[in-house]
Amino acid sequence: MSSSIPFTHNKYYSWCRNNLFSSWINGIITILSIYFIYEVSSFFLNWTIFEADFVNNFRGEKITDRTFCSKNIEPGQHGACWAIIIVRFHQFIYGFYPVEEAWRVNLVYGLLPFALVGIFFDNLPFRKYFIYFTFLFPFIGYFLLYGGAGLDVVGTSKWGGLLVTLFLGVTGILLAFPLSIILALGRRSKMPVIKTICVIFIEFIRGVPLITLLFTANVMLPLFLPEGVRPDNLLRALVAVTLFQSAYMAEAIRGGLQAIPKGQLEAAQSLGLTYWQSTRKIILPQALKISIPPIVNTCIGLFKDTSLVLIIGLFDLLGVGRAAVADIDWAKLHYEVYVFISLVFFIFCFGMSRYSLYLEKKLKTDNS
């Protein structure tokens, strides 16, 4: 067919023509964009890879502190000094966790995907068992990390880096999930007392910054509780993070609940199902399905917000990074540390946002 058209261009040519040079203004913009991309990427690639030090500097000496970075030997000529990341890699991933016990953290990291696939992919074989595992996972994980019953106890003050970030993120989300369903149902309840309590709770949490909640949990939780009970810093942060996340998640779920036509509930009631039966078997499965994309979006937000715990003195990924920068042996290597941490966060958050997009697309085709 196409060969019968008199002027057939190569498809790359016509694509360029349509997308890059459709008018002379577009042509100028394209050329400027190419120049901009060239400048930025050449700077960035040179800094991160071509002129950077990894383990040895350009003279071939092993880097043990920043005085061996070529940036220091020839200022202004050399790129990043990644040795700081490599030397402190253990701290970034495990915090101050004992080296010989690090296998426990690795095991938890290894089990984490199994705990999550059940939620993420609904066409998985044996999905039910994966979901059971998801709800068992916080307890297994906590036992492995904290120890006891045969394992050496590693106090939470020794946890740090990615471990704390993931611990707060994953546990916060898993604990907030049931709470948020209760809050979302409560907000739509016909009983005024329950409705008022849920509305006040949700709107209060959403109206104040997370940092004030973290401060409150950190300073005031010990005041509220009897003397013997002293939750450690990490658990206090976890309480604040869970409450925070549950309010945002509840709003996402409420959106899903509102999207379910009233006829569904009425049909369920006419069949003689009670409130709890119809909610559990008819309403919630449908509502949760459509509210998963917004729920994932709140999870991305929470995952980023776990970095706030450094302000109350916990060593999450960013906290460990700040400590690394403050070390005199490695001082002035801010950019290396911050770029590395940004990359880690980017990978997690970008992955989640792609997943949420994939779900949205899938839901669109499911319903139409």
């Binding site: 190419i34 016909k190 007392v193 309590i197 004030t212 401060f215 005041l223 940004s342």
Partner: protein, 389 residues
Amino acid sequence: MSDSFLRKLIFDEKIRSLVVQTLIIGIFALIIYLVTQQTAYNLEKRGIGTGFGFLNMSAGYDISIRLIPYTSESTHFRAYLVGLINTLMISICGCFLATILGFLVGIIRLSSNWLFRNIAYVYVEFTRNVPVLLQIILYYTILLYLPKIKQALILFDTFYITNRGIYSPSPIFKDGFSVVAWSLVIAIIFTIFLKKYLKKKQDQTGKQYPIFYINSALIIFTPIIFYYIMGMPLDFDHPILKGFNFKGGMVVRPEFMGMLLGLSIYTAAFISETVRSGIISVSKGQREASQALGLKNNLVLRLIVIPQALRVIIPPLTSQYLNLTKNSSLGIAIGYADLVHGFGGISLNQTGKAIEIMSMVMITYLTISLTISLFMNIYNKAVQFKGNA
């Protein structure tokens, strides 16, 4: 008798819900009672009294960024006010900058040029997937690596860019400047009435007036004319390097700049997405229909596309403004003296009045949040569909 009561308890919806609610109120009251008892006991044991008397005591610490007079002898309440003003200042500046940047990026994302729109896409993905706190710290670090005061970067002989801040001339208003300022206010009020009048006339006669150009000319030239009539009542105080620091002029501190950059670059990525989806939501048919009516391109945009896009943009934009305001509390990480840093941090540590101070801070944020949603809701109502909704 008792059997029917039990039956009612379980099967009568009204009675059942009454019982459940009473139970919940009871449980809540019990929890609150226990917590207050425990707290009172703990406070007494630690020797911390309650009450807001500390607000009148001297704070004893200094705040470098302030818009109202404040010294280390000022009271804690004064520190609260300074922090509140700083929070509001960074929020307003941040929302302003983020809106401009967000609209710009959102429009670029819809450009027909593949490269151009993908540059914007990369920007959006990289900024919104990295924690705002990390970005604030990163930009602040970059600002601290600017040249030292002695080797200041000089722009147009007036701006000095250093690692201690950006120094610029400060205006000195002489007698008669208020006349210029008032002339601007009157010009703006006048243009509003003029616009209404010309619109009415256009509806009656069908003749179009270049309202936009007339009004812009009025707003720009009225103050300029009055400025010269009053004999140029404005002077500038230039910053001069004396010893180790600049004297005179104004300074924008790197803490403020770092917060502003971090908050606005981060939030702009989200705003650009709402702007993009808002513009996409206006169906192509609308645009084509208005072109078929003979409207020019800029009129299509102004009269057809933007009003409809705003309906979709405003609600998510509101929540972005709220997020930015709440994120302004991260100033504590780089030493920007906002509400949480000064009052919620240092004052709390000095006085130990955790409950009073944290509740004041939280209520303040709640008030700010509610005020923003109130105003945005009013604006939202103004742009929504009118008539048979």
